[in-house]
Symmetry: C2
Subunit: 498 residues, 2 copies
């Protein structure tokens, strides 16, 4: 009854038609109100979109406040250079060409110090080179008479612009001088076709170059001295961060596979963010390359010398990516339809987890080595630990064969005929064995990372870590991998050798 | 004797020292000749470097002649726009602001039509928007008296420049409007601080915008009508090429593993270029994304409509990359130290090769589907073929277990005890089994590619292929995988179902 009352609670006009049926009268919407409704919907949609956009921008700002600082710095540099316009003496000093200083600041100001220096150099060198060349062409053209002048200038613009455009396709030029080539074309065409007389050109070139130098100097000073962001430091931090992500993913994948936290159903739907960290490693090649390129130009900063071997970071990055590919394969084991039966998983879980935790320990130690710029005293020991865990895993795989034999009491189906039993079990065992072999593969790739990091430590002359740290690390390892009977003996041996 | 004669054939001055030993006299080199030698070495090095650089440039040009054409087009556009300078009526029509037309051409002219359109739109919209805003700010500032004018203008430059710089960090803005934001900042600062009176500003803005429109129109016309390079077509071709590379790598890896061509030692040192094609797939994410972004803006061209679903190509690219990760793992199987004994490899080679050749057939068929923009009539059949090959492989793995049992006559060690024999053989079999399971994994990932390509075919409304093609394909398949007893029966069944 309550339901019926609810239905008829609103007033309603009905009309009875000729055939006896009745129809309710809906208030007719005129074109004006329809347009109004449409507009309202449009406005609401727009407001929502703007709101979402602002929300996203806010998140980006909160996530990395340095981006906000960079924007304020850019605003500041522009405001300062605008002062040139307002202070008459300076304005007249550069002959009304102050526009070029503003332009330079807008175009050259970049996020990192290295990028700003790179663009500044490109702009100054490109402008100067093109200016001189255009001056020469102008001189030749003016000597050859009024008839040939446009021809010579046109041909030179065509040839040089084509050549400079082509040079931008060459990878080594593209990486370092892309902007310079653009500026070269720009300046050359502007000066060549400007139609000024040669004596006036000199004054113009002088003013243009001095405004550009004012602009670039201002940019370099602001990026370098107000909350500087160094490309080198960024590259360094990115490498450390990626290593930590790699270690986290490795641990996460193996734990997820053996369902350590007992929430397979939940995490199946919402994959752990930690677990997918390796994807960042896969996608950071371009960033690393440009950072390394900019870092070369930066002066000594923080703990880094001028000639810090930034190129070596690219090698480390490549070896990390090679490791990340294997983790991708490992990750697909989790989603695979073919899963080993629980008792086999349980049987293998301890030794697999040991390999993964030892492997991620090595990666974390490497991350620490890079972070602290100090040679690790325990890395050899940790690598040995990892190798011995891999050896254990290999032994375990060997011993799995004995599980396959019908004499083994562990198996419930042991009453069946020989062939069937082992047939079933090889297939059942396979998923775990594949996971194990991937883990072994990963440990090999980690040794490549160790090599590249050691090269870095040698080239950059990292200092050795204090000895007491090593003992602390050893204690940590014993805590991480408990239940090993012969751990202490191995530790002692390894320390004696080290 | 001949050897001794050779040694003393040159004349030599010797001096006998006080202690009885003798020393040969070498003609002393003066500082001038030393500098000369150094200079000569330096010059030779420089010439060699320039020569290498030119060689490289030549190779790039020969490799892709369209790059050369692009450069000639850029040169042409610039020369044409320079004419504006030389034809007085046009020059005076834009009030001496022809510089901006040259600048626009230099900055906006890009390799593909889509990129040029995108930059043109960015430049025009950015300039217009910033111009209007700056005009408003100027008006407000001029009303507020001479004292506050610089303050208001400075504050507005600071705020807007900061905000626009920040917007470039937001991924959706960065992907599409990065250049527009830059131009916005540039125009706004230039106009706001220009110090012109409002009435003069209007004329200036009008001239500026008309020169920019002249420049952008010229660029768009040249890129579009002279040997155009369409971003969409490039993306399309890149996707096809990557698929072919993927198929080639897959075939190559498995053939190399089973040493089909019998040149393992040679190819071990010089990995086949074909074999590493999948690495291109791994690295093409950034290119694909920017191409898809530009392609959206391009008008209908060739066989593509205006609203061709370019975004779908990104999904196809992602599924191809996922497949390439697995091929990377497959590739590491080749270099692995642990190799299965030859007789096991031989035993498994046929069925593994069948899976790989069927899988690569599917990929090639997908490449053909995309290339021809026609729905393949044989893809279902090919996928089924692949699945049945995978089924055979799984059966083969099952039957491997029987090889492990001591009763099997194939094994030479069959006289030993049960446990030892099977223990040895699981480990021996393992490398091949891992390869096999990777192949199975790859076939699953290929089915993802099939799905994404089918989505593309549906959304873009591909037409169906002619029926006689299907039969031809079937004939091809029978030729590729010979020696299958039940192939014909399966084919008939599949065709009946299709």
């Amino acid at each position: 009854m309550a339901h019926q009352e609810k239905e008829t609670s609103g007033l309603e006009w009905r009309i009875t038609l000729g055939d006896g049926s009745s129809r309710s009268l809906v208030p007719e919407t005129g074109p004006v109100s329809r347009i109004w409704m449409g507009l309202k919907g449009l406005m609401a949609g727009l407001v929502l979109k703007v709101w979402k956009f602002l929300n996203k921008a806010w998140d980006i700002g909160v996530d990395d406040p340095r981006k906000v600082i960079h924007c304020l710095k850019a605003g500041m540099a522009l405001t300062v250079v605008s002062l040139v316009y307002f202070t008459r003496p300076l304005y007249e000093g550069v002959g009304g060409n102050a526009m070029w200083a503003v332009m330079t600041v807008v175009v050259v100001f970049e996020n990192t110090v290295g990028a700003t220096i790179s663009k500044s150099l490109n702009r100054v060198i490109g402008t100067t080179l093109a200016g001189f060349l255009a001056f020469g062409v102008h001189w030749v053209a003016s000597l050859s008479g009024q008839k040939f002048e446009p021809l010579i200038i046109g041909a030179s613009v065509f040839l040089l612009a084509s050549a400079a455009t082509f040079s931008r396709f060459i990878p080594s030029v593209k990486a370092r001088f892309d902007y310079g080539a653009l500026i070269f074309i720009l300046t050359f065409s502007l000066v060549a076709v400007s139609g000024y007389r040669v004596d006036k050109l000199f004054a113009l070139a002088h003013q243009r170059i001095s405004t550009i130098i004012i602009g670039t100097c201002l940019c370099i000073l602001v990026t370098m001295f107000i909350c500087p962001i160094w490309a080198g430091q960024e590259l360094h931090a990115l490498t450390c961060r990626n290593m930590d992500k790699l270690a986290g993913s490795l641990d996460g994948c193996v734990e997820e596979y053996f369902d350590i936290n007992g929430e397979l159903e939940d995490s199946d739907k919402h994959p752990d963010k930690n677990l997918l960290g390796y994807k960042c490693v896969l996608n950071s090649k371009t960033t690393e390359e440009s950072m390394a390129n900019f870092a070369r130009l930066e002066p000594a900063h923080g703990r880094f010398k001028f000639k810090h071997p930034w190129q070596q970071y690219l090698k480390i990055g490549a070896s990390m990516r090679s490791c990340a590919y294997s983790i991708e394969a490992l990750n697909s084991c989790i989603d695979s339809e073919n899963q080993a039966p629980e008792f086999i998983k349980k049987h293998m879980s301890n030794v697999c987890l040991k390999v993964s935790s030892n492997s991620s320990c090595v990666i974390k130690e490497l991350a620490k080595t890079i972070k602290t710029l100090k040679k690790s005293s325990s890395i050899d020991f940790l690598v040995e630990e990892m190798s011995s865990a891999v050896q254990d895993l290999q032994n375990e795989i060997k011993s799995l064969s004995s599980l396959l034999s019908p004499a083994e009491p562990l198996l419930p189906e042991s009453k069946e005929t020989e062939k069937t039993t082992s047939t079933i079990h090889l297939l059942e065992v396979l998923p775990v064995v594949i996971l194990a072999s991937l883990l072994i593969d990963i440990s090999l790739r980690i040794q490549d990372i160790v090599k590249t990091v050691e090269e870095l430590a040698n080239v950059a002359e990292f200092k050795a870590e204090a000895d007491d740290k090593a003992k602390q690390n050893q204690a940590n390892i014993n805590r991480i991998v408990p239940g090993q009977q012969n751990d202490d003996q191995q530790t002692m041996k390894a320390l004696e050798r080290a």
